[in-house]
Amino acid sequence: MNRLRLATAWLDGCSGCHMSLLDIDEKLVELSEKIELVYSPLVDFKVIPENIDVALIEGAVSSEADREEIFILRARSAILVSFGDCAVTANVPGMRNKFSLEDTLSRSYVENATLGKCIPLDNVPKLLEYAKPVHEYVKVDYFLPGCPPPAGVILSTLTDLLNGRLPAIEGKTRFGA
């Protein structure tokens, strides 16, 4: 049997959504027989592969690197899921949006710093003016709100997709859950 080629990505988020994925606990064993994790912060693949069946995207699109990653993931995935409030609404990373980028950076790296006060520019991806939800850049097939989405809902969504059913998410999780 072909296993489902699953990718998960970690953009501007706290990794809580990935923790909730791991919270599926013992069901993970069963799940791992049916899926192949082809790209994820949980495994060590550096390059986004082709032919991804399902991609779970955690986090808002906040930097140029996030934007690039999301475009590639979209192009290579059959189904793309906004995974958690940061991906769906920009959530906590989006709280910087009402301040200018300059103010945000200077608050973090100059005003509140004690050592080496300077805004890092080398070897870090450039921040975008706004942290935005994933669907403001690419088409999203399913939205899985929650901060983080409950483990049970992640499992039922993956199980539905594995069985070729449309995931029934509505009402099972909500913003801020």
Binding site: D85, A90, N91, V92, M95, P133, P145, G171, F175
Partner: protein, 254 residues
């Protein structure tokens, strides 16, 4: 209207005549109503649910949020059920695809307009706005967020107002005016720039009219108004007091 003296008595008597009873249909179901009743009241009396946000039992109607819009056959526009009076033979539809679609859009616009970050809100889990997202099946916001710049006023000893979470329902304005009688709150500016203010836009903590009763905090549907120092589980709002207060004062309609 003022009549000549000899007719005034007749006119006065006419004013106290009981309201006319009329019949009309909601979702095909025949209902009867007094002519001074709104579609929302009649629907609820007949067990037909219409979602609302700015409406609160015990306060006057404002028609501010438009979540309760319904279709009336023959009218091209949608009408807010809370401020539209029943009419003889009207045909009301509360749950058509079109109505549901517009309700969701209105809800999404509320989210796009301010900065509602549910995960870090004191009302997370007991917020009327958040509950509506589930009720109306809203999964995300189709519009671009405005990233509007709003402030938090924590100058009051016991309460704070976070304008990022305000939906301009004006429940606070109405409860403070109609129940507490202080009229501390008002609305300033227009359109998406509208903001609730205390007194003449002074910090709440410096308000000379606020009695500190906390009624506005209790009726606020979101986390915009909250009590300081209360955790999420403690900051559940108590709205049941309103109908009782009105009843005690003999203001409740019979």
């Amino acid at each position: 209207m003022r009549y000549p003296a000899f007719l005034q008595r007749v006119a006065d008597l006419a004013d106290v005549q009981p309201a006319r009873v009329l019949t009309f249909s909601i979702n095909g179901q025949m209902v009867s109503a007094r002519e001074d009743e709104t579609i929302l009241t009649v629907a609820r009396e007949n067990g037909i649910a219409i979602p609302t946000l700015c409406h609160l039992d015990g306060l006057s109607e404002r028609g501010a949020c438009r979540i309760c819009i319904v279709e009336i056959t023959g009218s091209p526009k949608l009408s807010p059920a809370c401020v539209t009076l029943a009419r003889q033979d009207m045909e009301v539809i509360t749950n058509s695809e079109r109505v549901m679609d517009y309700r969701r859009k209105i809800l999404e616009l509320l989210f796009a307009e301010r900065n509602h970050v549910c995960s870090v809100c004191v009302s997370n889990g007991h917020c009327d706005l958040q509950a509506l997202t589930i009720e109306l099946g809203m999964t995300h916001v189709h519009y671009e967020y405005l990233h509007s710049k709003h402030v938090v006023d924590a100058s009051h000893d016991r309460f704070s107002v976070d304008h990022n979470r305000c939906v301009l329902c004006q429940r606070c304005v109405r409860v403070c005016d109609e129940i507490e009688g202080a009229h501390t709150w008002d609305v300033m500016s227009r359109g998406y720039l509208s903001t609730v203010i205390t007194d003449l836009n002074q910090p709440w903590g410096e308000s000379s009219t606020c009695t500190g009763c906390g009624k506005c905090v209790q009726v606020c549907p979101t986390g915009a108004l909250s009590e300081k120092g209360k955790s999420i589980s403690e900051m559940t709002k108590k709205r049941q007091f309103l109908p009782y207060l009105k009843m005690m004062r003999g203001e409740e309609k019979t």
